[in-house]
């Protein structure tokens, strides 16, 4: 059994890891998603000490660690801060590629909001353009209850 190491083969074994998981949206997340689903409204939460509106909302201010409870409605219109276009397919995409992702600064919010961009020729996307949310007719309490953001004429 004096085989040289170089002659030994390495086997490559295909397999998978498949474990079911559930993510709980929690206090802030649930309220946000329910407002999208039931009232077609985008809600943010404000930190009074920092004077900062988070969208999507969360329960603690990261800067001053205050508990956040002041809900505010923000506009469904905003300004495009940046964007990127994905061409390669991958199993975790929400829709078929090519996909344009954008970060939108909604009117009334202070943080950026990540979502898809639609009804637009990707060659015409520009930073600073005004966009508006388009809601789906059938909504399920998911971030994808907003179909995408389209350009505002």
């Amino acid at each position: 059994m004096a085989e040289k190491l170089e002659e030994l083969e390495s086997f490559v074994i295909p397999g998978k890891i498949d474990i079911p998981n559930t993510y709980f949206a929690g206090l802030a997340g649930s309220r946000f998603l329910i407002e999208l689903r039931d009232n077609r409204r985008i809600m943010g939460i404000k930190c009074p000490a920092c004077n900062w509106v988070y969208v999507p909302p969360r329960s603690t201010c990261k800067v001053c660690f205050s508990k956040l409870e002041d809900w505010v409605e923000v506009s469904d219109k905003g300004t495009l801060l940046t964007c990127a276009i994905a061409y390669q397919p991958s199993p975790v995409q929400p829709v078929e590629p090519p996909i344009a992702y954008g970060i939108v600064h909604l009117d009334g919010a202070d943080s950026g909001f990540v979502h898809l961009l639609g009804e637009v020729d990707f060659n015409h996307l520009r930073i600073g353009m005004r966009v508006q949310a388009v809601f789906k007719e059938e909504r399920a309490g998911s971030i994808l209850d907003i179909k995408y953001f389209k350009p505002l004429d």
Binding site: E3, E9, I19
Partner: protein, 158 residues
């Protein structure tokens, strides 16, 4: 006007099966090759402490030296040290479902002196006992999965 907070709690199921390709490396690959081609179990021996390293590997963890190529062939007979059996199905992540496996799971001490976790052919709990002698029952075809080339360990007479 903002509505009062709702008591509904949203939960989002995540069902994402992630595909992988695991390389055995050349040392474990030697075990895979012998199992596939010759239905034999082999492992390597540390040049310093002379312990059998199981599974075969590049380094002896105790001596911190390169394990080398001193390959030893081992008997596929052994003794059951301890065993257990499933009463109801548990999730197996490599299958992606609950598995109600009816073969008991056992820790077996092979005659070569190494321990192995595998299944037992004997399903009757009354007949299972620590100390019973067992031998590997190999798959006749489609080997190449290392220890999974052994279907289970069947009981043999003392």
């Amino acid at each position: 006007m903002v509505k009062e907070p709702s008591q509904e709690h949203i939960k989002i199921p995540i069902a994402m099966s992630r595909p992988y390709r695991w390389a055995t490396g050349r040392y474990l690959g030697k075990l895979y090759k012998e199992a596939r081609d010759n239905k034999k179990l082999v492992t390597n021996r540390c040049p310093k402490c002379k312990e059998l390293l199981w599974p075969p590997r590049p380094v002896c963890g105790r001596c911190k030296v390169e394990a080398g190529e001193d390959w030893v062939e081992m008997s596929d007979k052994g003794t059951v040290i301890q065993y257990t059996y499933l009463v109801y199905p548990l999730w197996d992540p490599h299958v992606g479902d609950r598995v109600a496996e009816d073969y008991p799971n056992a820790t077996i001490l092979l005659d070569g002196g190494v321990y192995l976790v595998h299944k037992l052919e004997e399903k009757d709990p009354e007949k299972l006992k620590a100390g019973m002698r067992v031998q590997a029952v190999w798959k006749e075809e489609e080997r190449g999965q290392g220890l999974n080339d052994i279907l289970y360990f069947g009981t043999i007479e003392q």
